[in-house]
Symmetry: C2
Subunit: 210 residues, 2 copies
DNA sequence: CCGCGAATCAACCTTTCGATCGATGCACCG
DNA sequence: CGGTGCATCGATCGAAAGGTTGATTCGCGG
C-alpha cells in the first residue's frame, strides 16, 4: 500500500472526467491510469490494468448500470476498491451500490478535499460514506418495519408502470386479492392511501428504480 | 464580437466546474471570469460581471432552478447569452429552458470540441442545440396534437404527486368534472387509460418535471 | 365573422380501488 | 415449541376513478 494510488475513472461525461483528473492530479500520491466512458469498458479496464481504486459513476447514458459494473469488479480476484461517485442519492441507488460491494459512496457535489480524502480511505480498504449517505443507511437500519419486502417492491414497480391490479395479478400469477393485500401493506409503510401517492413517495425516496 | 469571449460557469458540482475550466481554458479566445455554485449567485454575477456567455446547469441541489435563473439573466439589459449545459434531456426541462430564453442547449456528455463550438455559436448570438435536443423540439412541432396543454400538464403533475381528483380540483380552484375532463384528454393524447399509466408515460417521455 | 381548440362544468353509469374483516401456509429464530 | 413476518387468498362495501354525452365561454387566426 506504499507509493502511489492508481486510479480508474468511470464516467460517461468527458467534462467530469477532465475535472476529476484535474482535481486528483494535484495530489502527488495519486495517478490516474485509465478512463472509461461506459460501465462495460470500466470492468474490462479494471481487469487488465493494475488499479487500486475505481471512481465509479452509477448512471451511464446507456448500457450497463454502474452498480452492475461494481459487482463485476469487486468479484474479480485481487479486486480494486470501488468508490461510487454519483449525482444521485436515492435509496435504490445506494442500496444497489452497497450490495454490489462498493467501498464508498460520494456525491458529486463534494468538495475536492473531501474527494481526495475519500480516495485515500478507500485505498486503505475502509468505507468512505458521505454524511447524507450514512444518514440514509442508518435510517434504514433503525426502522426495519419501513422497508418494503421484495414482493411488495415488485408490485409497486408494476404499479409505477401504470398497470391495474388485475394486470399485476396476471403478471405475477396472483389473485387480485393478494395484490390488494400487498398494496395495503405498502400504503401502511409509506404512509399514503392511494397507488399514485405510493408511487410518488417511492420515487421520491428512491425505493424503486426508474 | 472581437477579442476574448468572457464566460460564467454555473454548476453546483465543483468537479464539473473544474472540468469545464480545464476544457475551456485550452481555447485561447475563452476566458472564464466567474463561477457560481447556485442559480441565485449566477444571476447576481451575471449582473455585476461583464460576461458574454453563461454556461448554465439546470438542476441545482436546492434553491432556484436553472431555467428560472436563465429567465432572470436574459431579462437583463444588455444580457449575456445563456448556454444550458445539463445532464437531463426531458421535454419539461428543454421547454422551460427555451421559453426562458436560452440561446443553446447541450448535454454534459458532449465532447469538448462540441462544447467549445457551441460556446462560439452562442457568443455570436446563434442558437446551439445538441442533436438530441433539436430532434425533440422538431417532434413537438410535427405532432402538435400530442403535446399537452399548459393546464393539462399542470393537472398531470399534481396527479404524479399522488393527489386525488378532489384534491387537484381544490388546488386549482376547479370542479372535479373539469379535472376529469382534463384527464380524459390527457389519456387520449398519451394513449393510456388510467392516471398511473399516464404518469408512467409522462415520466418516460419527460413531459413533466420530477 | 365564424370556426376551432382550450378550458370550464354537469349528470349519469360502470369499473376499479381501497378499507376491513378474515384465513392459511411457510420459514426463520430464540 | 411459539412467535413473528411474509406471502397467499376470499368476501364485502363504500368511495374514487373512468367513460359518455352534452354544453358554455373565451381567444386566436383564417
Amino acid at each position: 500500500m506504499s507509493g502511489t494510488i492508481r486510479l480508474l475513472l468511470a464516467d460517461d461525461h468527458p467534462v467530469v472526467r477532465t475535472g476529476l483528473r484535474a482535481v486528483l492530479d494535484t495530489e502527488p500520491d495519486f495517478e490516474v491510469v485509465a478512463e472509461a466512458a461506459d460501465a462495460a469498458r470500466a470492468v474490462r479496464l479494471a481487469t487488465t490494468e493494475q488499479v487500486d481504486v475505481v471512481l465509479m459513476d452509477l448512471r451511464f447514458g446507456a448500457g450497463m448500470h454502474g452498480s452492475d459494473a461494481t459487482a463485476a469488479i469487486t468479484a474479480l480476484p485481487d479486486a480494486p476498491r470501488v468508490l461510487v461517485l454519483t449525482t444521485y442519492d436515492t435509496d435504490a441507488d445506494i442500496l444497489a451500490a452497497v450490495e454490489a460491494g462498493a467501498t464508498g459512496y460520494l456525491l458529486k457535489d463534494a468538495p475536492p478535499e473531501e474527494l481526495a480524502a475519500a480516495v485515500r480511505t478507500a485505498a486503505a480498504g475502509q468505507s468512505a460514506l458521505a454524511p447524507t449517505i450514512a444518514h440514509r443507511l442508518m435510517d434504514r437500519m433503525r426502522t426495519p418495519g419501513t422497508a418494503l419486502s421484495r414482493r411488495e417492491t415488485e408490485v409497486l414497480e408494476l404499479v409505477a408502470d401504470g398497470l391495474s391490479n388485475q394486470a399485476i395479478s396476471k403478471r405475477l400469477f396472483l389473485s387480485q386479492a393478494t395484490v390488494k393485500s400487498h398494496l395495503v401493506h405498502i400504503y401502511g409503510k409509506l404512509g399514503v392511501d392511494s397507488r399514485t401517492a405510493a408511487v410518488a413517495v417511492a420515487v421520491d425516496r428512491g425505493l424503486i428504480r426508474r
